[in-house]
Amino acid sequence: MSGAAIPVALRVPREDRAGAIAYFARRNPRMIIGGALVLMWIFLALFAPVVAPYDPIKVNVSDSLIPPNWTHLLGTDDLGRDVLSRVIWGSRVSLFVGVISVSIGFLFGVSLGLAAGYLGGAFDLLAMRVIDALLAFPALVLAIAITSALGPQIQNAMIAIGIVAIPAYARLTRGQVLAVRAREFIVAARTIGCSPLRIVAWHIFPNVINALVVQATLATAFAILAEAALSFLGLGPQPPYPSWGQDINYSQRYLPNLKWWMSVGPGVAIFTAVFAFNFLGDALRDALDPRLRRSA
């Protein structure tokens, strides 16, 4: 569409646009802070080869255990590898696992929730018992059990965290579908002969997506934390590839020698990444949930 097609009344003067952004930022500081931190980690993960000052796996024993300085901002580990570079490259693993496992949870959980909520009856009963069984396991214990059974590899960690995320999506979606399916526009769609698949995909799904976006953001925070925990236990990516949890585990042996910088970099990275997604998720929930918006 060309610019001329936009009605003149819709054009917002530049200073008004800046004012609107400033107003939005004042009203939603958590969304701005959380969003900025999320964008920063995404940027670092995407451009790690350019941003990271050194090769994260190149051993350089002559530079081992150097405390933070201007050459190595977060210091080096016992093999002389730059901690900052490992933190930046490690973000790729964490965000990649986060995105893939949340997608697995989203795909299976939402499909199951939509089908259970819309179809009801025996399918709903069976699906919810399966979800109850998944919920019977403490989440991280289940992830540990799945990864240890499948083998300590990054793709298995993703599958494990994805499976653990399924129940939250399924329950949330089912609840939302139950609330929506009796409404007039669904009855109308059914009356005019829409197929169940069309009703679910075109009429129900768009009405439950807000809650799912919030859940996806919060689930990414959990996925990053779970991946770090699995890596810490040796069930994630294997050395020498950088991973935040694994690097913290590795740094433990140097604690008595007070080589604190080896664990601080990855620890702060996990904290800021999880914090960012939690913060953004909370802000999105407040913004997208009309009940919370009214009470604010």
Binding site: R129, V130, D132, A133, L134, A136, F137, P138, A139, L140, V141, L142, I144, A145, I146, S148, A149, L150, G151, A221, L225, A228, A229, F232, L233, G234, L235, G245, I248, N249, S251, Q252, L255, P256, L258, W260, S263, P266, G267, I270, F271, V274, F275, N278, F279
Partner: protein
């Protein structure tokens, strides 16, 4: 009430069945051959085949499952591939250490959550409230293993006097003082995650209760603020907190896997984690199963307690 309990117990049966199927499938998914793992140095094909038959591994999977469940019902979780010890025995041996750590963590978490949560709800938007909100958010996002490392670094190595040891366990029966000294850091680590959730719940429950008519009535009657809060607000606000504390049992179990590993605490979490690299699946399977059933039973008990505490909850509705 009895009907409700029976109904809940009946609903648990299919879930328990699915949990056992899940754990059984998980172990069968594993690429390791249990016979090879159990036989150690033995590589004679005839001996291995005999062992396979003895374990029933030559049977079809459904038959194996039924045999496994029948052993399970008799309390037989199999034997460790490494130590040849009975898994149930190994779990029971380590349970007191996990229970001690979990109880200490829960005590710290609940006590602090109540004190700070009440203060921050009463003095909304004050410094205490803002500090409590920040702690909540940080606590949820802070990885427990990183917190453990920071605590070890500070209290075991940096701060003069080395207040607390970096790890290890002494039974309370042997030396109570040393037991408590070694308990502090792992308990604080384990408590932090659940403290954040409990604090948030205490604060929001109290704020919710403050808006109710009976609070206004209590104040209008001329009751002292302390009485209004203790007898009217807290009593009602703590009901959802009870539920949450029950749910925290799950968080404590999963937290124990990490915390016990870092602090060399000889509980069931560490038992499972040390069994993972060596492919000692009966141990992992046993611990996972015990964790899941403990979590299920706690959730049931909490639901019953919740229904008992809050007379507004109809058992019929709650069961539906």
């Amino acid at each position: 009430m009895i009907r409700y309990i029976l109904r809940r117990l009946l609903l648990m049966i299919p879930v328990a069945f699915l949990v056992t199927v899940g754990v059984f499938v998980l172990v069968r998914l594993s690429p390791a051959d249990p016979v090879l793992a159990f036989s150690g140095e033995e590589r004679d094909p005839a001996a291995l085949a005999a062992m396979r038959e003895e374990f029933g591994l030559n049977q079809p999977l459904p038959v194996q499952y039924v045999a496994w469940v029948s052993h399970l019902l008799q309390g037989d979780l199999g034997r460790s591939f490494q130590t040849k010890q009975r898994v149930l025995e190994a779990i029971v041996e380590r349970l007191p250490a996990t229970a001690e750590l979990g109880a200490a963590a829960l005590l710290i978490s609940v006590t602090l959550a109540l004190i700070v949560g009440i203060a921050s709800a009463i003095k909304r938007n004050s410094f205490v409230d803002i500090a409590a909100s920040s702690v909540t958010l940080a606590g949820i996002s802070f990885p427990s293993f990183f917190l453990a490392i920071v605590l070890i670094l500070l209290f075991a190595y940096v701060i003069p006097g080395h207040l607390f040891p970096p790890g290890g366990y002494t039974p309370a029966t042997q030396d109570l003082g040393d037991n408590l000294r070694r308990l502090v850091l792992p308990a604080v680590t384990l408590a932090t995650g659940s403290l954040a959730v409990n604090l948030r719940q205490v604060r929001s429950s109290l704020l919710d209760v403050f808006g109710h008519d009976y609070m206004r009535t209590a104040r209008a009657k001329g009751l002292r603020e302390r009485t209004v809060i203790a007898r009217h607000a807290l009593k009602n606000a703590l009901i959802p907190v009870v539920t949450l504390i029950g749910i925290q049992i799950g968080a404590i179990i999963e937290g124990a896997f990490i915390t016990e590993t870092i602090f060399f605490w000889p509980g069931i979490g560490r038992l499972a984690v040390t069994a993972i690299p060596s492919g000692d699946y009966p141990v992992v399977q046993g611990v996972v199963l015990v964790s899941a059933f403990s979590f299920m039973i706690t959730t049931l008990l909490v639901d019953l307690l919740y229904a008992w505490l809050d007379p507004r909850i109809s058992y019929e509705t709650a069961a539906a």
